[in-house]
């Protein structure tokens, strides 16, 4: 983002940026920046907090009148949390804990599809509640079809890519993202706010799909094909959940 700030400013348009990684903004000498103490991915603080978000935005915009760049100011406040009487976030469905040893092949696919079936009505509810806004839709493949593809991908040889002209490593990445987003959107059906770590703890720690992703990551980490190795090392499990791989 700092690079874009230089390019636009150099073209004569004043910029101000929200900085979630203060060190980067400082090192890159961005013309004007507001460093915020928020979670990564949340530049305006917290969801459904319009007054707070507006204050962050106004603080950043106020810097546009400064001509003494590089300017890097600090936003002093953390976002308001949920009310004290509000219960912590929980998924609307109580899923069975994933077994220590996953089933294989067709049985694993069937087990996954059963889990997906439990979440499906909550997915529909969640999409309706968010006005139709979806995380899913980047791959034209239904959750059940993805379940079959991913379950089969634990075996050897790998199945064919389910999408014509899509290399197998891209199919694995996009389909695993798509299925995870289906789970996340379903889990967001219940009112309240949730952080990405809480959501990650649920998906990777409490679902069969999450358990499958660890199996797939372990398999592909050992691959000698670089795109599959990268998938196993970086693309299936986020950094904040890799501790579960020990």
């Amino acid at each position: 983002m700092s690079g874009l700030a230089h390019y636009f400013e150099g073209a004569g348009i004043a910029t101000t940026l929200i900085s979630l990684i203060r060190d980067h903004t400082m090192r890159m000498k961005s013309p004007r920046g507001l460093a915020v103490p928020f979670e990564l991915g949340r530049p305006f603080g917290a969801p459904n907090e319009p007054d707070f978000q507006r204050r962050v935005l106004k603080s950043a915009l106020d810097l546009l009148e400064r001509m003494d760049g590089p300017v890097l100011e600090d936003f002093p406040d953390t976002p308001p949390g949920p009310p004290a009487d509000m219960e912590g976030w929980s998924c609307p469905v109580n899923l069975a804990p994933p077994p220590a040893e996953l089933s294989e092949g067709a049985q694993l696919a069937a087990d996954l599809k059963a889990e997906i079936g439990l979440l499906s009505p909550w997915y529909a509810q969640s999409v309706a509640a968010s006005g139709g806004r979806k995380l899913t839709g980047q791959l034209d493949l239904a959750p059940d079809a993805i379940a079959e593809f991913l379950a089969a991908s634990l075996g050897d040889p790998l199945p064919d890519s389910p999408v014509a002209d899509l290399p197998i490593h891209r199919a694995l990445k996009l389909s695993s993202d798509e299925l995870k987003f289906f789970y996340i959107q379903a889990a967001l059906a219940r009112p309240g706010t949730v952080t990405d770590v809480e959501m990650g703890n649920w998906f990777y720690g409490e679902t069969l799909a999450g358990a499958l992703y660890f199996k797939l990551a372990a398999k592909f980490e050992a691959s000698e094909e670089p795109p599959l190795k990268a998938l196993g090392e970086r693309q299936l499990i986020p950094a904040h959940q890799r501790f579960r791989m020990a």
């Binding site: 690079g3 636009f8 004043a14 940026l17 929200i18 990564l40 305006f44 009148e65 499990i237 904040h240």
Partner: protein, 152 residues
């Protein structure tokens, strides 16, 4: 996740990653904030559902007109580490379009631009240089004289 909550190795790798070097760019002048026309630039990988998803590593952008149904926006950020839960809970957390309109209504800014633009984060800045120059011309045509760059 807060930066301080990340595992030490991951946090260190993120903070200390190699970055392109820039000399300070002279600040562009403009009128008082209450007279400025503001556009949002986001790197959250947002686009309309019918737009093509972003291609990793390419400095391309998508146009987000002010008057579309914002619930049509999708997010195709490539990183596994990227937080998507906030976007679904409240679009304004990453793309503060309603907050900007409120500032316009309150007279804090002059106006909201006709078009906003989305990039994919984690793209090398040099890959964005050419398109940024192209985009600057479009922004000026819309009368934009202030940009809020919302990184993620």
């Amino acid at each position: 996740m807060h930066l301080h909550e990340m595992p030490d190795a991951a946090r260190g790798a993120l903070i200390n990653q190699e970055l392109p070097e820039f000399e300070p760019t002279p600040c562009a002048p403009g009128p008082a904030l209450a007279e400025r026309r503001i556009a949002i630039i986001t790197t959250a990988g947002l686009h309309r559902s019918n737009d093509a998803p972003f291609t990793p590593g390419v400095g391309e952008y998508r146009i987000i007109p002010s008057d579309i149904d914002m619930d049509d926006l999708v997010m195709s950020h490539v990183s596994t580490n990227f937080d998507r839960t906030g976007f679904i809970q409240d679009l304004n957390l990453v793309f503060p379009i309603e907050r900007l309109a409120e500032l316009e209504a309150a007279g804090d800014i002059g106006s909201v631009a006709k078009y906003h633009y989305a990039f994919m984060g984690a793209t090398p800045p040099t890959a964005m240089a050419a398109v940024a120059a192209d985009l600057a011309a479009n922004l000026k045509e819309d009368g934009v004289d202030g940009l809020i760059l919302a990184g993620v």
